[in-house]
């Protein structure tokens, strides 16, 4: 085996906000005691469910966020990156999932951004020289892209190639690729693999994050599995088997957190027929009954949120029928759907779920304000009564209803968002990742609430990336893949993490 060039040991990271700063008052760990190493000229695959901590680990390696505990050792030296530039200088290139180029600049300008070749006095750039060098760099890797073309006018695959060339041209020894094939066609993927192989020959190592099993075997040398922020194990690709990796990815124990005491009723609340969430996606069908908890599984980006938002009227869709309580809804809007009792708890509570700079009380009554409006003004005391009741029932930890929503912890914020809908008396509640990023206690409380609602006859459609949660709570599960439903599991006996996972990838 060739020599190890990167070692990450005992990496621990607490949950953090958008700026990488730890969030006060929680001790949720995204990564806990994770190990990871990379050898010279290998393709090391990193795999795990959504939220397993792959991206966080790579962000630490790329210098985008710092780790809270643990060490990173690069080429035998311990390193502490405080910004991405430092990581880049040490030979770590990061090809992000989202575009990380300036679309309005040319290929050459992007390749040389921040390290332009300048003439005398360090003022004027030598455009022609940069262009020539860019062309050579592209040619060396076998690409015929004109360096003068604006990045905006390239195809997604070509843009990715530019990113790769940029990473290599910075003398990167390790290149992180985060789901590089997500938006590529098969020929483009083949081409990408050719590049990866030729990079390997040049002694460059690649950390490859992907969910597409069929690719992994073709390109990988070793594979590391993360689960729930923990290191599970590393195997050689010679030992790779589909079942083995899936069993490593799941293996999570189903705790006693889930309460599932409700029984679904026969009456149908929602039926969706032939819904197309994108112009080129396959149509999908689904239905939800009264008092039933229906789960939707699948990877992030499979179109789960889009289904929910289409039904809720918060986005445009491309055909299909929505039948709610026997009535066909032709033009849904959030306002009209809420009035009809269909509500949607968003996955992004900070931006879409709560008005963070309003207080708890105002957030809880936001969707049911017209009920508080009697005899010509908003009844403050009724508002207070309603919110106090919700605070008590949902056990929201706060000083009073006057507290601003942005001062609450994640779990309590989620309860406030949920309280907003409960206060509006839902018939069908769509929950999008209801327990993401909140601590264990709040999680089990939310499960209890979901079960109670179902018992009262509320239909629940729950989108979740956490398989145990789906299995523990649902009466039926739909699994989504690439914009449509790939499987429906109706038998609780069938609910196995392996089964669900195999339909997602």
């Amino acid at each position: 085996m060739s020599k190890t060039i990167l070692k990450m040991d005992h990496i621990t990271k607490f949950i953090f906000d958008a700026y990488g700063k730890p969030i006060r008052g929680t001790d949720v760990k995204i990564l806990e005691d994770v190990h990871f190493d990379v050898c010279e000229s290998e393709v090391h695959i990193l795999i795990g469910e959504n939220g397993a901590g792959k991206s966080t680990l790579m962000k630490i390696l790329g210098g985008i966020i710092p780790q809270d505990e643990g060490t990173v050792e690069l080429f035998g030296k311990e390193v502490h990156f405080t910004n991405p530039k430092q990581a880049e200088e040490m030979g770590v290139g990061f090809i992000h999932q989202e575009l990380n180029l300036c679309p309005n600049l040319s290929v050459a300008e992007n390749l040389f951004l921040g390290r332009e070749i300048t003439g005398k006095g360090n003022v004027f750039s030598k455009k022609k020289q940069m262009c020539d060098e860019s062309r050579q760099m592209l040619m060396r890797l076998g690409f015929d892209i004109d360096p003068n073309v604006l990045v905006r006018n390239l195809s997604t695959a070509q843009q990715q190639i530019v990113e790769i060339v940029k990473a290599i041209s910075c003398d990167s020894k390790i290149i992180i690729m985060d789901e590089p094939t997500a938006s590529l066609t098969q020929t483009e993927i083949d081409h990408l693999f050719d590049i990866i192989r030729s990079m390997k020959k040049q002694g460059i190592s690649i950390i490859y994050i992907s969910h597409r099993f069929e690719e992994l075997k073709e390109i990988g040398d070793r594979l590391t599995v993360l689960r729930d922020g923990c290191y599970v194990g590393t195997i050689d690709m010679a030992d790779f088997s589909h079942d083995k990796v899936i069993s490593m990815m799941v293996g999570r124990t189903l705790g006693q957190m889930y309460t599932c005491t409700h029984t679904p009723q026969k009456e149908e609340v929602l039926r969706v027929e032939g819904l197309k969430i994108g112009p080129h996606t396959e149509p999908l069908n689904l239905h939800v009954n009264k008092g039933e908890v229906v789960g939707i599984g699948g990877l992030v980006g499979a179109g789960r949120t889009e289904v929910a938002k289409s039904v809720f009227g918060a986005r445009k869709f491309y055909g299909g029928k929505i039948i709610y309580k026997g009535e066909e809804i032709t033009k849904p809007t959030p306002k009209s759907m809420i009035q009809k009792g269909l509500m949607y708890l968003t996955e992004d509570r900070k931006i879409e779920g709560l008005v963070l700079r309003m207080n708890i009380e105002q957030n809880i009554t936001l969707a049911s304000l017209s009920e508080m409006f009697k005899n010509g003004y908003i009844r403050r005391n009724e508002e207070e009564k309603a919110s106090d009741e919700m605070i008590k029932n949902l056990n929201i930890v706060c000083t009073s209803g006057e507290q601003l929503a942005n001062t609450l912890s994640g779990g309590n914020q989620q309860k406030v968002a949920l309280a907003k809908w409960l206060n509006s008396k839902p018939m069908l509640l769509i929950l999008d990742e209801p327990t993401r990023g909140i601590d264990v206690n709040a999680k089990s409380e939310i499960y209890q609430i979901i079960d109670d609602l179902a018992k009262q006859g509320v239909a629940i459609l729950m989108i979740s990336s956490e398989l145990p949660e789906l299995i523990g709570m649902s009466d039926r599960i739909y699994v989504m893949r690439r914009g449509t439903i790939s499987a429906e599991l109706t038998d609780r006996e069938e609910f196995k993490q392996e089964t669900i996972l195999s339909h997602t990838i």
Partner: protein, 325 residues
């Protein structure tokens, strides 16, 4: 025992702090009034204070509209020009065309609402940034006003028309009373009705309020209509006040003064926060300062620079305050 004492002291301090934070405009107004009373001769007379109230009455109406637009995170730079156009229109209708007063006023307010609808449509439906839309429409409106009036002003308006704003009632003229009624109506709308709460939610977070069933598109258009209709009313009242109707009434400088008033009144330029009380005291603060410049016999041309520096200070202050939170 000592701790409890401390606690209640803290609570009082906290309560005072929240009060100041919520009603900063009132506090600023009072402080400036006290300073003025101490250092500016003839400031603290009943007549002078009455004058300030009278001077503030009309701009307060415009400021309420601007406050609502700013609460959505937008801005209405066409406001001053709308005033000019509406002044011209009402003047020409009642003088040149000898129209009855009520229809003339209704037509003028109608013109205002059409302007508001156009602004609102561009901002909401075509997503043109508010400052571009209203900068553009502002120039269009000014052009129309000049074309309609041929650049001339209408002087000596009919007596009956002037009476609408100049009749003395209870020691105040009707203009002040109209302004007071508008303040009360909009106080109710902004602070007691669902519309006000939804407007605030929309300004603070568009996605969250839209997904909570708030009719965000309707609110966004409504605020521009309200702003323009109130501007039309201001155009009418200003014409009555100076007994002259002309396209240069209002204008860019007036818009700026109104924005200054709104900012002094505690409107957040990032949207969501604003109040009618704030608009009232914001405008009155400006008028007190203008009044002091007058009383001290300082030159009128100081006014613009001082106004600019005040709003600059207010913006920096608000920003620093938000940083700390």
């Amino acid at each position: 025992m000592g701790k409890e004492q401390n606690n209640s002291d803290n609570k009082k301090k906290q309560a005072l702090k929240t009060y100041i934070k919520r009603n900063g405009s009132v506090v600023i107004f009072i402080i400036i009034c006290i300073i003025a009373a101490l250092f500016v001769p003839r400031f603290a007379s009943a007549n002078n204070l009455l004058l300030i109230v009278k001077q503030s009455a009309i701009p307060i109406i415009a400021c309420i509209g601007m406050t609502m637009v700013l609460m959505t995170g937008g801005i209405d730079l066409s406001l001053g020009y709308t005033i000019g156009l509406c002044s011209t229109i009402v003047g020409m209708l009642v003088k040149t065309h000898e129209m009855a007063y009520i229809p003339a006023i209704l037509i003028t307010l109608g013109v205002g609402s059409v302007i508001g609808l156009i602004n609102g449509f561009c901002v909401q439906s075509i997503k043109v940034p508010a400052f571009i839309t209203t900068l553009g429409t502002g120039y269009i409106i000014y052009g129309i006003a000049e074309i309609v009036s041929h650049g001339e002003s209408v002087n000596r308006l009919p007596k009956g028309f002037l009476a609408i704003g100049k009749t003395e009632l209870l020691g105040l003229n009707t203009t002040v009373l109209i302004s007071a009624i508008i303040c009360i109506v909009f106080y109710y709308i902004l602070h007691k009705s669902t519309f006000g709460r939804n407007l605030s939610a929309f300004g603070l977070s568009e996605p969250a309020s839209r997904l909570s069933g708030v009719a965000t598109a309707r609110i966004n258009v409504t605020v521009y209509v309200v702003s323009s209709v109130l501007a039309a009313l201001v155009g009418i009242l200003l014409s009555i006040d100076v007994n002259c109707a002309q396209p240069t009434m209002g204008g860019g400088g007036y818009t700026f003064e109104i924005i200054t008033g709104a900012v002094l009144g505690g409107v957040s330029l990032f949207g969501g926060i604003g109040s009618v009380i704030g608009a009232m005291f914001g405008v009155m603060t400006i008028k007190v300062i203008g009044n002091c410049i007058n009383l001290m016999n300082a030159a009128y041309y100081l006014y613009d620079a001082i106004m600019g520096i005040i709003i600059l200070a207010a913006i920096i202050f608000e920003n620093v305050k938000n940083r700390k939170l």
